[in-house]
Symmetry: C2
């Protein structure tokens, strides 16, 4: 194993891959594990029409290399898209198109973080962000989420205590968070911007689920309240158009975008031209905006089915998040059983979920679980939660 670099040695199999492999070996598993979109949310007929038209009218553009951060035609569509999230005054120079928002995170983490630099993340946070951060060798400071509340005062205290000159970044998912489904309140958002300015910390705002809010009241992202260009906004088409097309984007200051462009060029030259054009057309032709109420309704109903099933079947002392949007419910089990062990039992009953500890940078949440309600049918959600409830109840002391 001596052949790999120090960085290479720290690259390990993703837990997402690991669990997907276990699950895919079993038949008829009801999976709450991976966050796959409901395919009925993909406007496949419209996408087919768009592609057919592009490849008839403009094949030489669509199948050819393009510029690293994407054509202006696509950037202009993204300006139109994020206006709906309350982001104004965005120019083409502020945008780089990436291969999904995951690539935006990879690029930004590597552009900003040295080994031993500290990054603030939610506790719990998105597992794939942690898996991308760990090989860099960073340190973490947590913004705890407990009892559906963000413990922002505790973070402020720790920042005051901490030697803060190497706290360089925050990575946050303020809207319909993965894995809890929670959205930060306005006061928390304003406090975070305040702290970022006070301690000169950049914020990477992951808004992958921003358009999937179930509340009528509109929740602006952090970037909306950012007057000092401290917030780097990361968006995605995976949950509003198609996950398989792999189109996402970064919005930041010109200086940062130029760096993003340099690294993106080295990684894969550019995001596929055709895929970018499909995303742009889906905005210009109003397909995404027209489709969004339907998508929100699908996930809201599934959330309600799962919450109801949890209420009916899980032990009474279980605390679960009440998602305001997105695809996930996160549960804290009070009897302190390791959910990794529960998963082994539940797989015997053909039910899968993600053990929650992988969403904690210190793997401290061993008694937690993430339940994704996005893919299974209502019936399967109810059936799976019922089975899971029986297992949990049998472990009660």
């Amino acid at each position: 194993m001596g052949k790999f670099s120090e960085y290479g040695k720290r690259i390990t199999e993703s837990k997402l891959t690991f669990f997907l492999n276990i699950i895919s070996k079993k038949e008829n598993v009801i999976s709450f594990a991976n966050g796959l979109p409901d395919p009925s949310t993909f406007p496949h007929k419209e996408i087919n029409e768009i592609i057919s038209e592009i490849l008839t009218k403009n094949p030489n553009l669509a199948l050819q290399y393009t510029v690293t951060c994407g054509p202006n035609y696509v950037k202009d569509a993204i300006i139109k898209l994020v206006k709906e999230r309350g982001l104004d005054n965005i120019t083409e120079e502020n945008i780089c198109i990436t291969s999904g928002s995951q690539e935006a995170l990879f690029v930004l983490f590597h552009l900003f973080l040295n080994p031993n630099d500290t990054i603030i993340v939610e506790k719990p946070t998105y597992i794939a962000a942690l898996e991308t951060l760990n090989p860099i060798g960073v340190k973490y400071l947590g913004l705890d989420i407990k009892n559906n509340e963000y413990e922002i005062d505790k973070l402020e205290e720790e920042l005051r205590k901490e030697k803060v000159n190497n706290v360089k970044l925050m990575y946050l998912i303020p809207s319909a968070q993965n894995p809890t489904g929670l959205t930060m309140g306005l006061n928390t958002k304003k406090k975070i911007i305040e702290l970022a300015n006070e301690y000169d910390i950049y914020i990477i705002e992951d808004d992958a689920y921003g358009f999937l809010s179930f509340n009528d009241e509109y929740n602006f992202p952090l970037k909306h309240y950012d007057d000092t260009d401290k917030v780097i906004y990361v968006g995605s088409f995976s949950k509003i158009l198609s996950s398989g097309l792999r189109v996402g984007f970064v919005i930041a200051s010109e200086e940062i975008i130029r760096k993003v462009e340099g690294l993106k060029q080295n990684i894969n030259a550019h995001t596929p031209t055709l895929n970018q054009l499909v995303a742009a057309e889906a905005i210009y032709r109003n397909i995404i905006f027209k489709n969004l109420p339907k998508i929100r309704q699908i996930y809201k109903t599934k959330r309600d089915v799962m919450l109801k099933a949890i209420e009916n079947n899980f032990p009474e002392n279980t605390i679960c998040s009440k998602p305001t949007g997105g695809m996930f419910i996160f549960c804290w089990l009070e009897n302190l059983v390791d959910t990794g062990e529960i998963l082994m039992k539940s797989l015997e009953e053909n039910v899968a979920f993600m053990p929650g500890k992988y969403f904690y940078f210190d793997e401290s949440g061993f008694n937690t679980m993430r339940l994704s309600y996005s893919l299974p049918t209502y019936e399967k959600i109810f059936e799976g939660i019922e089975k899971l409830g029986k297992i949990l109840s049998s472990l009660e002391r």
Copy 2:
């Protein structure tokens, strides 16, 4: 600028981007600068048919997330493809699909190389490989290409002198090289495999142009002669199907592929599902194999036009490569004029090329130039080379 990581600080604007920007600001430039495929080589009607069929029959697969290294259906197509390059006994576990071969290079370089590790590269070599390697902080050892010959004996000598325990990798483009268009002879190939085994050095073989050989005689890649799994093979669909779709792949031992999978997951989860399926279908439906003779003929004719134009117009003492395939001719000017300065003059005449020094890790080839013949028409090739010849002749002393 203190906010960026040490790695981030070393990320600079790509020279490819820099020159593309200069050129795109001028109208009617005859560009020999960037290596864009001739769009008439893209089978756009067939691609349109494939996509239409996939999105009608199997939209939920094509628009959904897939596994990190790609579905087995796609891997099996690649096994079929590389058999035509003389690669046998490849299994699904030996393959990871990437977003173009550039991404394969990025992943492999970062998995293998620590700062100050030494990598052997051709002199000249692919500019984007150097731009990806430089921020890692590696050292280089050169395999000189002079007078259309590989100076392999000189490399062997240097390896004997060098403290070789930190020479970890070779990065080579043995077939229809970028930027010279040359292909290594069998003896050179065998010598390289021998050296790799003797000094325990892994070889990354970039075979992006492997299918674009103009010779009837079949030239196998290094990987064909590799009995000890020292060669990591990198392939691409950019020159045989479509550059804009961004599909490439790595073939290596299972151990290495598992590492590639781990890093690829962090970078962007997977290459777009639809794009992978298009590449696979283009193999299964025989579109690529049927199209290849036509592609080779287009580039062979353009090469011949450019070589003839060079012969007629460039100063007599100019040495240019005689490409055996691919898209590029590389020239060494004997009067030692800086080709960067010549570019400024030629842009005034609306002709562009790439100064050759960026293809040398030490930027030593200041009197060299890369001329791409892939995109311009025959007429434009002749017109551009004529203009360039006049500039070069005017500089003769």
